[in-house]
Symmetry: C2
Subunit: 395 residues, 2 copies
């Protein structure tokens, strides 16, 4: 037995992720389907959106399309009057084709070609994120008089998926960008930050809000009053690790805002992606093979599922997201290495973190991976080993 | 200035990767095209294949389709009478549709569903790799009396892309599998190993061949004479690091075989993927943005290209493959961080290893990434941020 796993975390209680009624519905639906595939629940997407809306009536919801661009689900959010946060002209075209309107869009990506800014401007997008002079000048040239927002860098502590310094800039640069924006006849309109994905510590918002307030104050002294604050998102979704309820998180964040911004009137927006919808998807996979590498009795088993990391579950890179993996096979549990059948030897799901699975598990048994809506469909590769892309059903 | 880079390696001499005639041809071809895209040279693919064939007339060439499944290039290899190494039933269907014949195929993947083995058997595939009892029993059930080969585990030293223990088994298990195969009326036919990708040290073949010989001898004592030896491949391709010529590598490997197998008559095969074709592809990319994160003069620049890691250049994960990156812009050089414009903050090409690029580089400038044929097209994601998949031209 290997001791570098926490046994309590790797035994999954199915009811923490899907209730009995939805489970029965899923079982009925998958009966005549060939794994592997992803099943999305339309109802759950709608109810999650409504719940967030009711808990955060003090902020507008900009759904971050990148988390999962499934058109069926996007249509529901459009019908619910959501705003959208887009990352590329391709996302722009797709949401417009579904009858979203440009006045409800924000082009958050700070790395843009000039022709893409022009393309978005011509389609009536009027809000652009920025974090550099070169980008700001591009916006001024081809998207005149639009609203711009400045993305601040925040420290990466405590996040389960700590990201990089790829986006954002330090306060002194943001300050100079705002002055420059005014000079270029753009409208310095808001501040944005990202506390990193799967952020477990609410203190991260405290730090980020304090930075935002510092920039706000400096600009106010230079006669520029920013009018909007983008809280981004980053709230942790429930994978193996248990998280707080959304309402707990929101209450605390709202309190931080009041502490920092007191009587300043700011419009507030948030851009949830993952945490709005993490629990509406279940991947159904069939075991391809269970094997060992030697004749030694006590050697660890390799369990190979029938899907692959670089398209389906890219967030298992470095084992950063630990998905709840469930099977209805029962029996004595022991640790396994979980991998996929592609020829890529790096295509292993979990090797350091050991999941516990029944010893009598074998080929053909079904395995369910919960919380697999975000960042799965869109990463799907077109043809590695010519395995087809992720199959998706919306029920 | 950051000192954790080796300046000599990051200044690219274009002529080491593409000669003047091919360069002119490329320049002419790309004039009316919008970056980013990948250009493949059909002529170079053909001449590489012919060169390898002439240098290794003592072994059959099984081209590893997974490295790049481009149909135009596959057709050329089929016309040249290549054998093929397939990883999935999808690869099987694709090469058959291009008029490859099943007797020239080997199904090397040791992780297979039973129905996939049956599918391949029904299409006349008669050679299967294995490394576990469960897989062997599946083969015996649905692909009776076929030839099987045993994949050995080899140590991972010295490879630029050291892979995992996902495939292969130890000698005692391979031995038992061969006995079992005979019992199940299968034909224990050959031994296979993989010395890992981008293997720089030829000693790895020495070690692997010694293991293969040990298994060969043990089985001979049990009245099983294996008849074929699969050298797999793993020879390093020329990225930033200079490599030896293929003929140098082949001479040494042949000498190792003679040392270990002496007078034993074994058919030899090899399964080149990357190293057969690494130099036939060039990615042409346009710079999206050059920026800094603060107002400090000496801070490192971020150079954002217009393509993205998780579909185009997945082998830059952990910066393991360092592609030659070239621009015709000249000027004083300084280190940069190279990244892409998707919203994924992990989508950075090189941050630890610093490339040197001209200080006057800016948006719209073109950048060429050489040696980008292998493991690019097939990993391309269908729609992350809805960026379209890799565009490919064959000239």
């Amino acid at each position: 037995m290997n001791d570098d796993f926490s046994s309590d975390a790797s035994i999954i209680d199915r009811k923490n992720y899907i209730n009995d009624a939805d489970w029965s519905k899923l079982q009925e639906f998958i009966q005549d389907k060939n794994p592997p595939f992803l099943v999305l629940s339309r109802e759950k997407a709608i109810s999650n959106y409504k719940l967030l809306e009711s808990l955060s009536n003090w902020a507008k919801i900009y759904y971050a399309v990148k988390a999962c661009p499934n058109e069926e689900i996007l249509k529901e959010f459009i019908a619910l009057w959501s705003y959208f946060d887009i990352a590329s002209i391709y996302e722009l075209d797709r949401v417009l084709s579904l009858w979203a309107t440009s006045d409800r869009l924000s082009y958050w990506n700070t790395i843009k070609k000039e022709k893409d800014i022009k393309y978005a401007y011509d389609k009536w997008v009027r809000m652009f994120a920025t974090d550099s002079f070169e980008d700001l000048e591009k916006i001024a040239r081809v998207a005149p008089k639009t609203k711009v927002y400045f993305r601040l860098l925040t420290p990466a502590f405590w996040a389960d998926r700590p990201l990089s310094r790829k986006f954002g800039c330090e306060i002194p640069l943001a300050y100079e960008l705002a002055l420059k924006a005014k000079e270029l006849w753009l409208i310095p309109y808001w501040i944005s930050f990202h506390v990193w994905s799967q952020q477990n510590d609410l203190y991260a918002w405290d730090v980020a809000l304090s930075k935002a307030k510092e920039l706000f104050d400096q600009l106010k002294e230079s006669w520029i009053t920013l009018q909007m604050l983008n809280l981004w998102w980053g709230l942790p979704s429930h994978y193996i690790k248990k998280t707080e309820t959304i309402s707990n998180y929101l209450d605390t964040i709202k309190w931080f805002i009041e502490c920092h911004f007191k009587d300043e009137k700011m419009d507030l927006i948030m851009e949830p992606g993952r945490s709005l919808v993490w629990d509406i998807g279940v991947i159904v996979s069939e075991i391809s093979l269970v094997s060992k590498k030697s004749t030694q009795e006590d050697e660890i088993r390799w369990v190979y599922l029938d899907l692959w990391k670089f398209s389906w579950l890219i967030e298992t890179l470095d084992e950063s997201i630990k998905y709840p993996i469930y099977t209805e096979v029962t029996g004595e549990l022991s640790p396994v290495i979980l991998a996929w059948p592609t020829c890529d030897s790096a295509d292993i799901l979990y090797e350091n973190y050991k999941y516990l699975l029944p010893e009598n598990l074998k080929s053909w048994d079904l395995v369910y991976i919960f919380s697999t809506w975000a960042y799965t469909q869109s990463y799907s590769a077109i043809e590695f080993n010519w395995f087809p892309p992720l199959k998706i059903f919306v029920i």
